[in-house]
Structures are given as structure tokens and as C-alpha cells.
Amino acid sequence: MIYIFILAIFTGVEVISRVPTVLHTPLMSGANAIHGIVLIGGVILLGSAGDSVLLCALGFVAVILGTLNVVGGFVVTDRMLEMFKSKPTNKSSADK
């Protein structure tokens, strides 16, 4: 698992290393949505909580919060990027 951890670090840096300033905000927002993956953890916690009321409650809240992160994150990012999409003809020349 440590291997994966280290590989993912390099991938993360490599993948965004040439991002233009213009896209910093959408990129941050997109990354924000991706770490909503904690939602999976919430689902597993709740799904395997068994009879424990405490675990159920913790998992339930975690799933709600995680969903907020995922849905909100992706929708906000999409709205930001929509703005860039609206002028496809002008954009090609600005791509660097």
C-alpha cells in the first residue's frame, strides 16, 4: 500500500504540473470533488455497522457529509467550467 501511496503522489504532481493559472480555481474545485471519495469509506462504515447504533449513526452522518462534498464539488466545478465552454471558437487560440 505504501508503493501505491508514493506512486499516487508522483502521479498527482505530474498530472497537474503544467496547469495554466486560469484553471487553478476549477482544478482546486475538481480536486475537492475527488477527495469526496471519503464517501466510500462512509458507505462501508455504515454498511458494515451491524447492530451497533453508534457506528450506524457515525456512518450515516459520514455518508451525508461525503455526499455533500461529492455532489457539491462536481456541480460547482462543472458550473465554473461551463463558462469556459461557452466560446469554443475563441478558445482554441488561447490554449497554450
Partner: protein
Amino acid sequence: MSRTSVPEAAYLAASLLFIFGLKRLSSPRSARSGNILAAIGMALALAGTFVLPGMGHFGLIILAIAIGTAPGWLLARRVKMTAMPQMVSLFNGMGGACALFISMGEWLRETAPAGDFGQALPMLLGIVFGSVSFTGSLVAFGKLQGLITEKSVRWPLQKSLNALLLLAIVATAAEAVPHHDNAWWAVALAGAALLLGVLQVLPIGGADMPVVISVLNSCTGLAAALTGFAMHNMSMIIAGTLVGAAGSFLTVLMCKAMNRSLAKVVFGSFGLSPVAAAGAAAVKSDQVMREITASECAIMMGYARKVIIVPGYGLAVAQGQHLVHDLDEALEKRGVEVKYAIHPVAGRMPGHMNVLLAEANVPYPKLLDMDEINPEFEQADVALIIGANDVVNPAARTEAGSPIYGMPILNADKAKNVIVIKRGRGAGFAGIENALFFNPKTRMLFGDAKKALQELVTEVKAL
């Protein structure tokens, strides 16, 4: 083994989609599809989780997802473009809180013998990072939303207090490992980390908020990865680490754009050093700002050959983006060349201003980065500064004592004439006086950016 192969495959596909999505997000042309790819990856990972062996409570899971989806969707749809940064921060905080709850749950459930450090570490760290990013993001949200003062809040012994708190966190975590059966240690740990999140972000001034959000973003990514370690979940480790690494790298890029060291942002906030305060006083006493009317302003621009517009956050607050575009069109009709100078940190987040102007249909090629536009100021007849301040403050170039000294700025002062649309006479976001406003070639048009622009558009059209 076959029962776990479906989720494993889903996780692998999801991880690849996250990587490709992030990759596509870093180029303007493919950005939107990148976001959608990542969203598909998320859906896949979620679907894969449902078929994991030993899962139950499906009704509750779906109910919780439904409860989370509705407000998330509505908030994200309704929020104004100007309020984007705090929205990102808010959602980020939710992710942090989620990681906190999961780590706590895992800790309570874990039946491993007390004292197993390797097993305990990811959970305890997950609690710490989740908590810090939760309360930190909420404070950042409050500051950007105007619920908490944007000024840097300070109190005595600030740094020692935070260091002490950090020590307490380490000590509590160390104590929690051998006392795994006593849940209160973990609760105390969360409490201390929650407090640290508040204390760490509260002193940071509004101007540094983008960096803070970026730091907290990678913090939540790390929390997600740690939770993944605790739960042995590959997709969480990969996605969390990706965000943690990309977020940290992005933070460094932002700091470079503002010429601030990360340590300075996190540990020492913008404070008026005595030198800068004295300098500001000197500017005030012996110089005056020269006012101008909208019609004079329109004449100056209408008969210019080249106008460079420098938009700042003040423009966004006044919701004047569309009017800028109108003004731009009216001027172009008269044969004036109009360009936009975008400082890397104009607005509240890097790239924020581009998003806002793109929303107002300003053609993308007219928005120029600082490095491209700076040599052009000398040929410009008019630099029109709308609601921007610190990013055109020449003190960054000349006054070694100024808090913004060394920050790259837009050379608006090199233009033949400078017009500044500004709400009032006060200092800018960072609380620093701007000598440009007292420059003999500068004219001030006081008032709300939207109203001022409206008048300008009318006047230019009437020329």
C-alpha cells in the same frame, strides 16, 4: 475471491478515471470532460462498494445519500459565481468532517489489540487531519462569506498556544494507542484538532484565503487517503493521495504567483509592519487623489488607441462583469483596442477573475496573463483599474518595508493615463495604502463599480 473482484475492478477503473480526469482538468479545452470523467469514476467506485461482501443497511445508505445530494446540488447550482471560493471551502469542510466521522467509527470498531501502532496511526491521523480541515474550512468559509472578520485576528502568545496545542495532539494520540478501549482519548484528540483548525485559520487575513483553501483541500485529500489506509480501501488511498499531492503542488504554484512563502501564510499573517504604516502616513499627508467625472473618463478612453482594463475583486462584488463587456464593445466600436490584464490572484482565487469574465462573455483571447500584458502597458493610453488595488500597488516593487514587497504586480503605472474606479478612499484588502492612487497621472472615479461602469457605457456611446 470472486466476490471482491467486482469492487476491485470498479476501484481500479475509478482510480484511472480520477487520474485522467485530473489530467484533463489542467487544460482549458478538456477541463469540463475531465470533471465529468472524475464524476463517473466516483459513481463507479460507489457502485462497486455496494457489492462488497458483508454489506448491509442499504436503505439507510441510500437515504443518507439522498439527504446529502439535495442540499449539495441546490447550493452548488444556486451559488453566485463570486461566492465560488467559499462554496469550495464549505464542501471541502464537509469532506474533512466525513473523514473525521469515519476514522472515529473505525477506531471504535477496531478490535485489534491495544498498542498496535501501525494499525492505529492511520485512524488517529485521519481524525486529526479530518478535524483540522473541517473547522479550518468552516472558518475560511465564514471569513469569505463575511460572517467572520476578514482581517487577521491576533491574540497574545498565538504561536506558542498553537505549538502547545500541537504538542497536546501528539501526546493525546500517543496515549490513545495503548488505551484503545477507552474511546475518550480519541474524542479528546478530535476536540484538540478541531480547536487547532479554528486557531490556525482565524489569524490569516482574507488576502491569503486562496492559499489556505488550497492547503485545506490537500489536507482533506490526505485525510481521505489515511482513512483508506485504515479501511484497506485502494480507491480511497489513490484518490486521496492524488488530491493531497496535486493540492500541495497547486498551493506552491499559488504562493509563487503571490510571492509569499507558505510558511509566512500559515504562521505569520499580513500585519502592518511599523515601516509600512509610517510609509502610508507619509503618502496620506502630502499628496491628494485627483477625482474625475464619468464623462471626462469616457472622453479619455473613447479617443484612446489602446485601453487596458485591470479588473479586481471589487468588480466582481459589484457584479459589474457584464457592464465591463458592454464598455469593451462600445470602445471597440470606436476603434479602440481593449485588452484585459489578469493578475494571477485577481479575485479571491487564482483564475477566479477569468471565470467571472468568461461568464460575462468576454472573449477568452482578450484576457492576458500578467507576464504577457505587462510589456504592453507602456503603449497603453489608458489603464482602467476597476476594484483592484494591491495587484497594482507599486509599493510591491519599491518599498522594501511593505508587506506586499516583492509580489509581482501589473505595471498599470506605466500606462500614459490611469483611471481608477473605486468605492471609497480606504486602503485595499491587505490594508496597505497605494501610492498609484496619488500619482499625478492617475484620476479617481469614486463610486460603486457597477454604477460607474453604467455611466461610462452611456457616455462612451454618446460620444
